[in-house]
Amino acid sequence: MRTAPEERGDASRPAMEELANDPSSRKRFFKMMGAAGAASAFAVFLAACGDDDDQEGSAGNAMAEQKKETAGGRDLQIVQYALTLEHLETDFYNAVVDSGVVKDKKLAETAKLIRDAEQAHVDTLTGVVKDLGGTPVRPQTTFESVLEGGEMKVLETAAAVENLGAAAYLGQAGRIRSKDLLAAALSIHSVEARHAAALNQVVGKTIVPDGAFAKPASMAEVLPLVKPFLA
């Protein structure tokens, strides 16, 4: 079931683009998250980088060229990191959907819905980076080796990526101080967790690999694992 790239656009895309490009849309987005004071979110975010406890310093080198010497430097780095992961996920699901490698109709539909969610995350985070004065990262990605491995390899990789993504967000939660941006990050985090559990079920793994309490992953732990997919 191959989907041509030009068919990817769906009715919700304009809304996503609006969210990414229009600050007032992002304001509504933060309100939707249940976070009050959305208008001040980015100002608070900018002020949130006072913590110089930078255990992630070396890991952040991947995005070092994007890290501006602004008040929001550290938090900008976190958003760029999240954006990198979301791009990776979006590119991956686009490649999967386009390849038609997932034959099961329901699973193929799930892959498209996950792709759309990841794209929405990309659009939102891209807007946040811009608001913070940064230039959004756009990594080059490659998934040929995964796609060549067939459907099960693709599904196992999807599950691994989602579990890693959820752990990555969890690993950053405590480093963000703005309540509003934290609310947004959490709203993405739990969706990544949902994806992870659904895909774990598909490939026959437990939905809760860490048991009752999920474990975080730091940038230093995450970046080497995604490096094979970064061209």
Binding site: G34, H189, A197, A198, I207, F213, A214
Partner: protein, 212 residues
């Protein structure tokens, strides 16, 4: 909803109109205890209370009450739903054990705070266990609500460690939600962003299932 309508006194003790920041700090601290061990939590909690000007054992107990509800829900489902499929039984068992772990951690944290853990409330899930379908539908509501409850509370937590711990629990709730939704033939998420719920909304959602 007025407080007078609440069936359980432990719920009535909660100020749902103004859940305070220190409440969330304490709630977060107890989740840290779950992850990092209760021994590490006590000093932090006392420090946080000293900073914020007051403890809030009631809110910790509120969280505990929610966990009791969830644990009881899956326990009763496993006992009462006839013809539960293998997949549903396996999942309900996993979730029940996760919730029981949360309950134990919360009880310990209330004690570490110098408080007295609330007893498990009486529960009545109505006709939810009449069939696997009705059980799974209510389970989906519980899990989605749980995710939104934590997402709504977490931004008020100030400590990085505590926040990370709260996140570790909401991630597990989200995983439960997705797995239940799969059994219901639903996609894992409603959209790209999970909504947040305030304490009052959460209370309203669970109140129908609480009995003295």
């Amino acid at each position: 909803m007025s407080r007078e309508n609440l069936a359980a006194p432990e719920l009535a003790a909660i100020d749902v109109k103004g859940v305070t920041r220190q409440s969330f700090l304490v709630r977060g601290a107890l989740t840290a205890g779950a992850v990092y061990g209760l021994g590490t939590v006590g000093p932090f909690v006392r420090h946080a209370i000293a900073q914020e000007g007051g403890g809030d054992v009631e809110v910790v107990n509120f969280a505990l009450t929610l966990e009791y509800l969830e644990a009881a829900f899956y326990q009763q489902a496993l006992e009462r739903v006839s013809g539960l499929s293998g997949d549903a039984r396996t999942l309900a068992t996993t979730i029940r054990e996760n919730e029981n772990e949360h309950v134990k951690a919360l009880q310990g944290t209330v004690k570490a705070l110098g408080g007295k853990p609330v007893k498990a409330p009486g529960v009545d899930f109505g006709d939810a266990f009449a069939s696997q379908q009705s059980f799974l539908m209510l389970a989906q509501t519980f899990e989605d609500t749980g995710v939104s409850a934590y997402n709504g509370a977490a931004p008020a937590i100030k400590s990085k460690d505590v926040l990370g711990a709260a996140g570790s629990i909401v991630q597990v709730e989200a995983r439960h939600a997705a797995a239940i939704r799969a059994l219901n033939g639903e996609q894992p998420a409603e959209g790209a962003f999970d909504p947040a719920l305030g304490a009052q909304e959460v209370l309203k959602a669970v109140q129908p299932f609480v009995r003295n």
